[in-house]
Symmetry: C3
Subunit: 437 residues, 3 copies
C-alpha cells in the first residue's frame, strides 16, 4: 500500500517561507464574518488549492442562529476641526470596530470617547474589537493616541454598509480510500492579524496543497470559515454526513514562538487526542495539554452536545496565553517562517499517525517468531543488551494480537510511531504480519 | 419548582447558639443504650421536632443480636470508712462504667482497684467506659484521684437495675416529592459527653427542624438511636424498605474546632461521597477524606454487606483524632456555637447539592446556543477574556447532554455547584434547558 | 481443609544450604540447549524429585522453530607453537562459544582474533556467548589474556559434535485438588553460571521437593527447559491443555544480593501479579516492579499473543541490572545460601497467597456480627482503639460479600494476607463464614 511521503524527504524550510509569503499577501485585506474581505481571501487561496466557495444568503437560519446582513467598508476616519485625520482606517483596518454601522456626524470629544476602545496596559497597541450581532459602531486606537485627543468638534465617518448579502466560506474535500473524514478547519474572518488567524489560514492551505498529491487512507475536508457562525452554518448544512468525521483539528496561532498547546476534544481520549499527544511527546519539545472547554475557537460548535465530534485544536500560544492576542501587535514581529514550518511538520506527523494507525495480526502468534532465520536477529547469543532494532520487532509481534492499533502498541511499548511503523513494514515484507484493515 | 431556601438567607449564627443551648439541656442526663436517659433525651427533642419514639422489648431478636435488658441507675458511689464519698456518680455520670450491675459491698482497696478505670496519660480526666454485653461493674475516675486512694474498707454502691424493659429510639420521616430517602442518623446513647455525641444529636435535630419547613425532593429520615444495637434493630425492622435509602450520613463530633473529616461510604464513589467532597473542596477549608472501614460509628451496620448503603460520615475531629474522645474532657471547653453553625452549614450545603443534583437536557444541542440574542452574552466581541458569568452558561449548555448530572458537570468543568445551579436557573428561564427528572 | 504448612514451621536456613550444595554439584557440567550436559543435569535433579525427562528429536518442528542438531563437546583449546594451552576449555567451559562447530586448524593470531570474545570493561572476566542457530565457532577469554596473546601459529581445536540427536527437558506435575495449574519454570541450559541460571534450577527443584509433600489446591507443573526453544517446544506439545495454567512464574537469578524485581505478566494485573506485589509489599523490603516486555526469559513465549499466559518472573537482580550477568563473574562470589533461602521463602509466600486466595461468604451479612458473644471482641466498651486482632475480623466479615477474594480484601483493607487468613480460620471455626470455592 502506498502511503504518505516520508518526513525525511520533505522540505519544511521552503514550506515555511511560502506560508509566510501567503500571510503577507492576505494581511492587508479587511476580513470580517461576511463581505468582500472573505471573498478576496478565498480568491487568493483558490490560486493555491481547488477550493469551493459557498454563499449563504443573509436571513438563512442555521440551528439557533441566523445569517446576518453582509458588512462592507470603504473608509472610516475621525477628523479634527483642522481637517487632520486623528484616526484613519486606511492606516490599519483594526481602527474600526468590525461590523460597525455607518456613521457621518460631528461630535464632541466626550461623545466620541464613548465609542473608543484602547488597551491601557499596552498603550502602543490598537485593540481588535467586533460588534457582529449588536448594531453599534466604534473606533479602536492606541491608548497613547487616545490620550492625545483634545477637546474639539470631530468629524466621525464610517463609510460602511450593512445590507442583505451573503456569508461565504471555502471548502475542499480531498477524497481518500475511504469516506471516513479528517476535518481540518480554520477561521478566516480576522482582518490584519498574523498569528490569530492568518497563520492558521496559511498552514491549512499548505496542508491541503500537500495532501492533495498524496495517496490517502482518509478523506480530508478543509474548511476556511468565519469563526463561530461559520461552523454553525457548515454543521447545519452537513448534518447528514457528520458521522463520517472521525478526527478533526482546529488550526490557528501556529506562527508564534510559543511552545505547542493541544486542547483535547470533548471526548477527551479520542484517537486524535492520542495521536497528537504521541507526536508531541515524541518530539522531545515542551508542550502543554489542556482539557476541552466550551470556549475558544470552533471546537465549541464541533463539540456541541448533539455532535460531540472528535475535534481538538493544536496551536502554539493560544488566545489566553499571549498578550498580543487580538491587537495590532499580532503582526509580523510575532511570527516567522521557522515556526510556521515547525507547526506544519507537527501537523503532518499527526496526520502520519492517523493515516498509519492500523491494526495488524501476527501470523505466527504461538511462541516467539524465529527472527534469526530471517536475518532479523543478531547472530551472537548471550549479549547483555540486544541491538536496538530488535526490540520494536519483538514488541510489534507480541502486541499485534488484533486488539492493539499501532498507536496503542507505541503507547504501551514506549516506541516512537516511526520505529513501530518501520518494524511493521519489515515484518510485512517477511510475511509475518497481516493488515486487518 | 420550589427548592431549598438560599444559603445567603439563613442565619447560621443564631442556629449555632440554639444548637449549643440544646446540648446544655441534654448534657446532665445519664444516657445509655437503654433506659430512662434515652427516653428523657427523646422527650426533650420532641419539643423541637415531631419525633416518633419507638420501644422494642428486651429479648427481641435483631439479626445476630438480641435486645438487652434495660439498664437504669439512681446513684452510685464509693465511700471510705469515714463516710466520705471518694467517687460520686452525682458529680459525673461518667464515674460509673455504663451498664454496670448493681453492687452494695464493703471491700479492700486492692479488691476495689480491679474495678477502677483511669487514663494515666491524662491524669485529670475521667474515662468513659461501657460494659453493655458483659455483665460486670466498675468505676471510672481521674488517675490523680486513683493515686490518692489509700488502704481502707470501702463501701461500694451501684444502685442500678438491669431488668426486662425496652430499647427506645427516635425516628422522624419528612416526606418529600419522592419516596427516595436521605438518611440522617446519630447515636443518642452517650452520657455527659459534648462532641461525641451531643453535638451530633443537636445538629441532627436542628437539621430536621429546618428541613421540615422546606419544599423537598427527597424524603428525609432522621434517626436518634443507641449506637451499634440501635442501627441493627432499625435495619431489622425496616428491611423491606431499605432500598429507598439513596444517600445517608452519620452525624457526630460536629462541635469541636478540628477541620472536617469525611469518611466515605462502603461503595466509595456514591453520589453522597461526591457531593460531600465537592462541598468540602468548594469551601476552601482544610479537610481530610478517609476510606470506609468497618469500624467507627453506625456506618458499620449501614455498610454491612447485605445492605451496603451509601452512608458516609461527616465529622470534624473523629474518634481516632482527638485525645478528649470518650473522656470527661469532651465537655463544653471542646465545642462552641461557631463550630456547630459551621458544621450545620456544611451539612445544608451537602443537602443542597443532593437536592439539586438533577439531569438537564440542552434543548438546542446543535452548535452553540446564541446567548447574545437573549441578553446573556457581552455585546463586545474580540475581548481576551469573557465575563465570568458566561463560562458557567457555556459549560452547562455543553454538558447537559443527558449523561451528566449537575454535580458531574461541576466536577468536569471545575464549577462551584451554586454557580452551575444559577446558570441552570437562568437557562431554564430562557427555555434553553429541560429538567429530565 | 488441610493447607500448606505454616511458614513459621519451616527451616529456611537449612533449605538455603541445600540449595547452595545442589548448585555446587551442577556447576561443573557444560550445559547447552541440547546434549549430554542437560541430561546429566536432569539426572542429578531426578535424585531429588521424580522428574520426567522428555526427548524431542532434532528436526522436529515446533511452531516457527525446528529442534536443532544436538551439540556435545569433549575438549577445546588454543595451543601456541610451544605447546602451551593459552585458552583451555578444561579450565572453564565458558571459554568456548556455546554450540561452536568443530575446528582443528593452525592459524595466525590475526585469523584467530576474529573468533575471540572479551569484555573490555571487565578485563578479568570471561564472557558467556552462544551461537545456537548460526553455524560458527569461537572462544571467550578475559580481555587481559587476550592482550597477552602474541604473534604466533596457534593450534585451534574444538572437539565438538553437532549431529542429529535430541532436545531434552525435565517436567514434573504435582497433582492438587483441581486440574488448574501453577507453572513454575526455569531454563536449564547455561553452563558454569551461578545466578543465571543455576540458582533458578536449584530453587525450582527445592520448591518441587517441598510442595510434593503438601496438600495442594492447585496442581503444580515444574519445567526445567532449555531457554527459548524449550518453552516453544513445550507449548507446541501441550497446546490443548494450556488453558489449565492459571498462574505462572519464571525462576532465575535468585541467589544474588540484589533486592527483588518482579516483572509482570503480559496481562498486567493477573492474580499472580497481585499476589507477588502483595507479598513483596508485605515483606517490608525494597523491591522493584517492571512491566512485561517481550524480551528477557521464557515469559517471552508464555506471553506470546496466542497464549498470553499469566506468567510473570520473580528474580533478585535481573539480566539488565548486574554487570556479572553472562560472565565468569556470575560465580559463587555472587550468590549465597541466605539469599537463596530468602528467595525460596518469598516464592513460598506467593504460593501461600495463591493457594489460599479463596472467596468466602459472610453467613450473617445483615448488620454487624456480634463478635462479643463468641468471645472474639474485647469486653470493655468505649476504648479509643480496639485490640489489633479485632479489625481483621471486622474487615473480613464486611468484605466477604461474594465479590472479594481474600487477596482483594487485603488490598482494600491494608491487611497482611496471613492475618486475613487467620481471621478467616477463626470465623470459619465459629460458623460465620462459608467457603464459596
Amino acid at each position: 500500500m502506498k502511503t504518505l511521503k516520508r518526513m525525511e524527504e520533505l522540505d519544511f524550510k521552503n514550506t515555511g517561507d511560502r506560508m509566510l509569503k501567503l500571510i503577507h499577501d492576505l494581511y492587508p485585506i479587511c476580513r470580517s464574518i461576511t463581505g468582500e474581505g472573505v471573498r478576496q481571501t478565498l480568491s487568493v487561496l483558490k490560486e493555491l488549492i481547488p477550493l469551493d466557495v459557498l454563499s449563504i444568503a443573509s436571513g438563512t437560519e442555521a440551528f439557533d442562529w441566523t445569517i446576518p446582513k453582509e458588512w462592507n467598508i470603504r473608509d472610516a476616519y475621525v477628523e479634527d476641526s483642522k481637517g487632520n485625520r486623528v484616526i484613519d482606517f486606511q492606516k490599519s483596518n483594526l481602527h474600526v470596530v468590525n461590523y460597525s454601522m455607518p456613521v457621518d456626524r460631528i461630535m464632541t470629544l466626550k461623545e466620541l470617547q464613548k465609542h473608543l476602545h484602547t488597551i491601557p496596559e499596552h498603550p502602543d497597541w490598537i485593540p481588535y474589537r467586533t460588534t457582529y450581532y449588536n448594531q453599534s459602531w466604534g473606533f479602536c486606537l492606541s491608548h497613547n493616541d487616545f490620550n492625545r485627543l483634545k477637546e474639539d468638534d470631530y468629524h466621525v465617518v464610517i463609510d460602511a454598509t450593512l445590507k442583505p448579502g451573503y456569508l461565504n466560506y471555502g471548502e475542499l474535500l480531498i477524497p481518500g480510500q475511504t469516506e471516513n473524514e479528517v476535518l481540518i478547519t480554520t477561521h478566516a474572518c480576522h482582518p490584519s492579524l498574523c498569528n490569530d488567524n492568518l497563520s492558521g489560514i496559511s498552514l491549512t492551505a499548505y496542508l491541503a496543497k500537500y495532501l492533495i498529491e498524496q495517496p490517502l487512507r482518509y478523506s480530508y475536508r478543509f474548511l476556511f470559515i468565519p469563526g463561530g457562525i461559520g461552523s454553525v452554518v457548515w454543521l447545519s448544512r452537513n448534518e447528514d454526513n457528520i458521522s463520517r468525521i472521525k478526527h478533526g483539528l482546529v488550526v490557528t496561532c501556529v506562527g508564534d514562538s510559543g511552545s505547542f498547546t493541544y486542547k483535547k476534544t470533548r471526548q477527551g481520549n479520542a484517537e486524535i487526542d492520542r495521536a497528537v499527544l504521541h507526536v508531541l511527546k515524541a518530539s522531545g519539545k515542551e508542550y502543554e495539554v489542556v482539557d476541552f472547554s466550551p470556549y475558544g475557537y470552533d471546537e465549541r460548535n464541533f463539540g456541541s452536545p448533539a455532535f460531540n465530534l472528535a475535534v481538538g485544536s493544536l496551536t502554539r500560544s493560544t488566545y489566553s496565553q499571549y498578550p498580543q492576542y487580538h491587537s495590532s501587535a499580532d503582526n509580523f514581529d510575532l511570527i516567522n517562517a521557522e515556526n510556521l514550518s515547525d507547526s506544519f511538520e507537527m501537523y503532518l506527523r499527526v496526520i502520519n499517525v492517523i493515516e498509519n494507525n492500523r491494526t495488524y495480526l501476527n501470523l505466527f502468534p504461538k511462541g516467539e517468531v524465529q527472527l534469526g532465520k530471517r536475518g532479523l536477529y543478531g547472530k551472537m547469543g548471550g549479549l547483555q543488551n540486544r541491538p536496538s532494532s530488535e526490540l520494536p520487532l519483538l514488541w510489534v509481534l507480541n502486541l499485534c494480537d488484533g486488539d492493539h492499533t499501532l498507536l496503542a502498541i507505541c503507547e504501551r511499548a514506549g516506541l516512537h510511531f516511526d520505529e513501530a511503523k518501520h518494524a511493521v513494514d519489515v515484518l510485512i515484507q517477511h510475511d509475518l504480519l497481516k493488515d486487518l484493515n
